[in-house]
Symmetry: C2
Subunit: 249 residues, 2 copies
């Protein structure tokens, strides 16, 4: 389940959502939260969710920062971190001197011309530039309107350096497969619930999962249902909680 | 002739360059300066060039801001201007209230997360979003290193809104055709001199012009000569002034 599209919107009145979430857990169905959140560490993010009234723990969450850390470790990479200050703790202890790659996340106000230039200069001077992107979302919805996500800034660096980023997060198939592995379920018996037609629905469908799209969060009528069969949801619902989930319980 | 790649680099010792430039004018050959400069108005830009020792006037320059202004006027568009403060005077007197398009230029430090979000929100709320980009350069060279140009930020907004920008400036064919018209020359009898393999050489070649690439400015060995025949220069020179030009005089 995508956290932002289902749980984070209109935080007042969380009980019905938490109740259905607990209903899923109590029914014996396995539940995992997949998020491209890259403005907060998992600790901070879970703290926020718990304060909102949701019964969630860190080990129920699949998010891109730990996956990126693992990749950096495996390949011996030293990152220039173009990420939000609140997510830096996920990379604590890593060698960031003389960087030989860039990790980009949803840096928010941290996307200054100066920081983008610094990341660009790291990449353009590398023989084999590596750009790891914590998601490729176009935008998300905050209380005061739509906000640019990491995707547009990833594209900016890709264009500047004529490279392709490696996306760590939704809709990367590896991300969904990691979540399936963590749950111990097969793709065909798993349902993704999310608001993003590309990140949630498309990513899950590409992995052979079914997908339920909610009309909350960043859902926009003109962008859904998608014209591409790969991205069309199996079920379309007004919001979470919803009747199709109750019927499964 | 491209100004940045030929004249603006290493401003000390401008005499040889100004001398060959004046030689071209005195020989009866027509000379026009094509620039994607979008950090300064033409007035300010010419003032800078004259202080550096070059004999240039505003009416010898083809640049994207006046071309964009003309497009806005013809289509009755009200722009959100994501441009450098020093180029705003080119749009003086235009109606910028309730914008129904975005004009993006090399805003430099003006490329904040906030200004990018404002431009994005204008575009995403339009039924037919129009994004005019004053060039699509990837980067340029300043005394303290390479700097991101307008192109990466144009790509960011294109991706965020799933649209294509209209490029006003090099390498757009309309831009080169406007310069040819202003000179009163045919493409096949015109030579473009520049440092940018895509913006200068590629753009000119696509219009049927010949092109001389200089190894100054942002020239990089690993990017030139291009693998694409469309972008390969007819002549490659160390710098401007150069022997092939002297041979033409």
């Amino acid at each position: 389940m995508c956290i932002h599209g289902n749980l984070m919107k209109e935080p007042k009145g969380c009980q019905p959502r938490d109740r259905q979430m607990c209903g899923i857990k109590q029914s014996g169905l396995k539940l995992r939260f997949c998020t491209n959140e890259s403005q907060k560490s998992r600790d901070k993010f879970v703290g926020l969710l718990r304060r909102l009234g949701f019964d969630i723990s860190v080990n129920e969450i699949t998010s891109p920062a730990p996956a990126a850390r693992q990749i950096l470790k495996e390949r011996g990479l030293r990152p220039y971190l173009l990420v939000h200050d609140d997510v830096r703790s996920e990379f604590e202890g890593m060698d960031t001197s003389d960087p030989n790659c860039v990790v980009i996340g949803d840096a928010g106000d941290g996307f200054s011309y100066q920081s983008m230039n610094e990341a660009f200069r790291v990449l353009i001077n590398l023989e084999n530039p590596v750009l790891l992107s914590l998601g490729k979302g176009r935008y998300y919805k905050e209380t005061d309107g739509l906000m640019l996500d990491v995707g547009p800034y990833m594209r900016a660096l890709e264009y500047a350096c004529d490279i392709h980023a490696e996306v760590v997060g939704k809709p990367a198939p590896e991300f969904f497969r990691a979540a399936l592995k963590e749950m111990g379920t097969e793709a065909h018996e798993t349902l993704m619930i999310g608001d993003d037609i590309v990140g949630d629905v498309g990513g899950a469908r590409c992995c052979g999962m079914r997908a339920l799209q909610v009309r909350t969060g960043k859902f926009r009528c003109d962008l859904s249902p998608s014209t591409s069969a790969d991205c069309s949801p199996c079920i379309l619902c007004a919001s979470f909680p919803c009747t199709p989930i109750n019927q499964m319980l």
